[in-house]
Amino acid sequence: MKNLPKFILSAAMVAAMATSFSAVKAATPPDTLVQAWQSDDIISLDPAEVFEFSASEIMGNTYERLVSYDIKDVSKITGQVAESWTVSPDGKTFTFKLKPNKKFASGSNITAEDVVYSLHRAVSLDKSPAFILGQFGLTKDNVKDKIKQTGPLELTVEVDKAYAPTLVLYCLGNSVASIVEKKVLVQNEKDGDWGYNWLKTKYAGSGPYIMRDWKANEVLVLERNPNYEKPTPLARVIFRHIKETASQRLLLEKGDIDVARNLNPEEVTAVSKNPDIKIQSAPKGTVYYLGLNQKNPNLAKPEVRQALKYLVDYQAIADTIMKYKGDVHQNFLPKGYLGAETSNPYKLDVAKAKELLAKAGLKDGFSVTMDTRSTAEITGVAQAMQQTFAQAGIKLEILPMDSKQALTKYRARQHDIYIGNWGSDYQDPNSNADTFAANDDNSDNAKAKPLAWRNAWDPGPLTAKTRAAVMERDGEKRAQMYKELQKSVLDDGPFVIFLQQTEVAAVRKNVDNFVLGPSFSDNDVSQAKKN
């Protein structure tokens, strides 16, 4: 036993060493906002390539576009770099006049040359989000003729058809159409890459903040842009990548971060009791749905599709598993979009479902599988549905898998039921109508793979109606067309849409003007400040 004191001594030494490291600061600096989020989806910071949630948010805070919309009422489109615009009588040519005193972060003026370059660049690079511009008939080969500078502060954009002007404007307000500084990118161009290899980790914009530094999976730092017209109250915003939500909570409660972005429902409930923390939330343009593969003979029966819509306990899911994360929503257009339908006619009704199943000749139910991404929330929702399906005799087998694996299978149309979510690509209703209600080619080797195609559903006349809605230039008529499309999909489509996503953030009380907008690129810290 004589060596025991030595051990105690060494343990005491370790403890003493630990106490001496109390150089730990309790609060973040007053001019700096520190956020914890899961940002492992960021693959690039080049606006021509950015298509992921986290990076979109960075684009929104660091770049500007020709036009933008009011996040409280997205139907109000305003100029951001553009001062005004006109549409030609044939509806195909948009002429933009730029504001005269706009500057890049570098101090140079924003000219029409920069805007034209930026749009040429996005179309020519042809990265993932390029289709948002490409859908107007713009290609690498013709873009130089279609988007032209017509004066130092004036340019024209020519589209191939007379689309609804708001569709074109929303797409020009998307992050893919962000304005980059031509001079900087030309300097950093290598082998005709439009400066892409440089810009994917660097910055050349004019937004409220400058992207100062990005260390993948570690930290991203934004700094005040001194040349922005309305300088930000904060000098700096730091995004720390903290994957573990429990760690986010500890950091927030301790005051080492100001905002925690990915807390789970229990953690939100817990921190909401902390007097120093407030909870903020905003509906997002993402809907959760089940995709019913029409190659499965049971799911192809219209009565079965309807029966399944009666076999989901919508409210229970929204109130428990998805608490703070979503509201009941059954139509394919998220609330806030032009023509969005907000009625939710389906409720859990086992008797009605049984009746429908009997009509379909499946009185005793049937067995079916569901490809389920193995995240806690999706698994939870799937299990809730498994229970309610069982009440009508439907035996649902949950196949847990990795998200990319589930997606690969879904895109090959090899699933029975897929539980997924779909976020709009841009603020116009066509983004969702195009995928839920249109399918030009339902053959196995079709090029385009909209959600209707993935579920092997031929929407018949709805495809033509979707295409027509894009061309309707009267806003009210257009809204009406989308209402009809939603009704058709709600009644008969192979989609059980059950929720619209809500984004929730836990914010320290001393932070003001932290804004969560309708899309991820609208999450805005430009006016955030700390008291």
């Binding site: 150089a23 492992d40 042809d126 993932s128 990548h241 760690s247 301790k254 895109r411 793979k449």
Partner: protein, 352 residues
């Protein structure tokens, strides 16, 4: 050691020949291991039911973008040809680019591996410095309180899930007591005070004399290192105990005691010296395990290490990154093996 070899071998030539033989053997082992690892990882990566193109272009990309990337990746070629192309590039140090970070895989590894190395080394040091004396104590005082204590400690180390212990550690030492810093490697405010050279933060800050940053880094690493150290300690102390028990029962120990040597000398100079040989394997294995990256610890402590990097890449079908990471770990294993072989020779004359 060199002189010992000379005396026995009887000349420079044979010593040289034997070292050359050893080096050749080592290179062959390294190459075969790496080739095998690369082949297995590569083919597993290609048969998993995940489409790597989607991982790059995303779900929404139009058909022509999808096709273009598929061809750029060479996925339309036969598997063997794809593997051959990969090997040819890998030999020149080009492991391709990571999909997730878009950086060359080597750059990513150069960024993440030092973080893991730093944590694993500190963890192993803690494990060795505390674990070995504890194990010896337990063996010497077999059946005593300290022995029971070491056994319970070892058992707990085996059975408590690391993520639980990690979170509890954070809750107590960071959130409640405020003794240590929270998740992360260094505070952002300090992270711009030094230039990353080795990417081992403790080393970089110390070499550049940024002592505030150094102490901040220490206060960040201490908790995860103690956590890993505890798990390695649990293993090392248990093994030390059993090796020592084995040695203490040997006749030479009795002989030494009979000779009248002090108990300290018997234990530290004689018994431990013999127990050290198998112990080195144990330590090397435990170190290698930590080098693989402790994914859970890295996740909880937001530690940007190799374990998190590979796991994240795997989940996103980022096979270049997975392959590169696997090869680095493979090399680390082979090197550690070599080091423990060399130490064997140093400690045990019979193996010379």
């Amino acid at each position: 050691m060199a002189s010992a070899v000379m005396n026995r071998g009887g000349g420079h030539a044979s010593a040289l020949r034997s070292s050359l033989k050893n080096i050749a053997q080592f290179v062959i082992v390294l190459m075969t291991t790496l080739l095998g690892l690369a082949a297995v990882t590569f083919f597993i990566g290609r048969v998993v039911p995940i489409d790597p193109v989607i991982a790059i272009v995303g779900d929404r990309a139009p058909a022509q973008v999808y096709e273009r990337v598929r061809q750029e990746l060479g996925l339309d070629l036969p598997l063997i040809q794809q593997f051959w192309i990969y090997l040819k590039k890998a030999v020149t140090g080009d492991f391709g680019n990571s999909v997730l970070t878009t950086n060359p895989v080597l750059t990513d590894i150069a960024n993440t591996f030092p973080a893991t190395l730093e944590l694993a080394t500190l963890g192993t040091l803690i494990g060795v410095i505390i674990g070995i004396p504890l194990g010896i104590l337990a063996a010497v005082k077999r059946g005593s309180f300290i022995d029971q204590f070491v056994r319970v400690l070892g058992l707990a180390g085996y059975s408590i899930p690391i993520f639980w212990l990690g979170l509890m550690g954070l809750l107590v030492f960071y959130a409640k007591l405020g003794w240590v810093a929270g998740p992360g490697r260094i505070d952002v405010t300090y992270s711009y005070l030094y230039t990353p050279v080795t990417n081992i933060v403790l080393l970089d800050t110390a070499m550049q004399g940024q002592w505030d940053a150094f102490w901040d880094a220490v206060s960040h690493i201490i908790l995860p290192a103690c956590l890993l150290g505890y798990f390695s300690l649990a293993y090392i102390s248990r093994m030390t105990r059993s090796f020592m028990l084995n040695e203490l029962a040997q006749e030479y120990v009795i002989a030494a005691r009979v000779k009248g040597l002090s108990e300290m000398r018997v234990i530290w100079r004689h018994a431990l010296r013999n127990a050290a040989v198998p112990l080195i394997t144990v330590i090397a294995l435990s170190y290698a395990n930590l080098l693989e990256g402790s994914v859970l610890t890295e996740t909880i402590f937001a530690w940007p290490g190799l374990g998190q990097y590979i796991t994240n890449s795997l989940q996103n079908a980022d096979m270049n990154a997975v392959l590169g990471g696997t090869l680095v770990i493979g090399t680390a294993f082979v090197l550690l093996n070599l080091v423990s072989d060399l130490l064997y020779r140093l400690l045990d004359p019979r193996t010379r």
